[in-house]
Assembly symmetry: C2
Homo-oligomer: 211 residues x 2
DNA sequence: GGGTTATAATGACTATACTCAGTATTGAGC
DNA sequence: GCTCAATACTGAGTATAGTCATTATAACCC
């Protein structure tokens, strides 16, 4: 066999093996989590399906939760792109926000058990590495929300005096609360998405002061 | 030995034994969680200190997390009472809210690791029994927040058109988000309590509309 | 107080996430 | 192509949350 079939400046065999293994892990975890559920899937099963030893699995992921993050990251990215690229034209900020957050809800709705574990992992990450990742993800999302807020200001829909960053944080907080309320089973999906979310955001925009 | 030393209509020996055991469990868990931490304490240790078998422990508590809820319930109750009974006179609603939520933050600040596990357990409870308990607790809290809102309306500080229930939910959502942000290590304690919380609540009251 | 039933307690056992001392593979210098 | 250091992989082993068939105890009835 030739010593090198790949083009120059490509990563060596080691690196390629690692990439392949990571991909196999991703696929195995996706397959099992979706067919059996997160709790019901053991890490050994994932390792077996990925054709690696258990110990190897934990060289690639810190723990079982990170396996979930690994799987969801890509899908969440796509959800964000779709959400922001399908915002209806000439809509109010409220409608835009309901559309955006609603896209996430629809995504999570595809598999509530996994969503629950994933959101929990994101919101309560203590390990520095994962925490940083979660923070970055929220950051990028907030940036795009901020754009919509600025545009709404330009339309004269929102006041110019408001702190955009704070407004983003508040919107995200209201979304998070709606999400956890639903995922923990306290409120139904339909009620959350069709009613509570909108009213919550609306009240933030309106404020509470007398007319 | 006499057959009955207790007054009539009192619970029998069985019931008293159960109460004593529960109390011993509570004390054992409190002692160990505070001296060693939640993660570092094993359920066997709790059982041993409470002088019962492991199996018995799980007759009283569904899982390790419920052990934490058992301990915190009383303290949280006290925190709520203190928070509401020490509201400063003639303050604005914003100051009242900062005082109330701040009381909780100060309480949780005494032991962030336990607080983290506890809040996580509360917000992500799937077991119906515990979920119901969490919902009830939030409900009672919201009722008392609602009172303050109505009084603020009476003072003319807030509009009469607002939905009080929705306003409560939004305040609670903003508080929860601030709390999880701190507990997951994304934001520091001082910054959260002294700055972010107030600005978040303030923006909800003010709203985002143009002047 | 003896017999019977219902309830409570027990601890050996199971299931499973994660570790780590030992082994194998890769790549670089000669 | 050989040697060796660095890196990657392995799977038996460990720790621990939670279970369940068995045993003990309390309550009740005659």
């Amino acid at each position: 066999m030739q010593t090198s079939e790949v083009s120059p400046f490509q990563p060596g065999l080691r690196e390629r093996n690692k990439q392949q293994k990571l991909e196999r892990i991703r696929q195995a975890a996706w397959e099992l989590f979706h067919s059996k559920g997160f709790e019901a899937t053991t890490t050994r099963e994932v390792a077996e399906l990925a054709q690696i030893a258990v110990g190897t699995l934990f060289l690639y992921v810190k723990d079982k939760q990170e396996l979930l993050v690994l799987i969801y990251d890509e899908a969440i990215e796509k959800t964000m792109e779709t959400a922001f690229s399908t915002i209806p034209e000439n809509a109010t900020l409220l409608d835009e926000l309901v559309h955006i957050f609603g896209s996430y809800f629809r995504f999570y709705h595809q598999n509530p058990e996994l969503a629950r574990a994933y959101v929990q992992a994101l919101l309560f990450q203590s390990k520095p590495g994962q925490r940083q990742q979660a923070a970055t993800q929220i950051e990028r999302f907030s940036k795009r929300i901020a754009e919509r807020i600025v545009q709404a200001q330009a339309r004269g829909e929102l006041g110019l005096q408001i702190e955009v960053g704070q407004a983003c944080r508040n919107f995200f907080a209201l979304y998070s609360a709606a999400l956890t309320g639903w995922l923990s089973g306290m409120v139904g999906y339909e009620e959350t998405v069709n009613s509570l979310l909108r009213r919550s955001l609306e009240l933030q925009i309106q404020g509470l002061l007398p007319d």
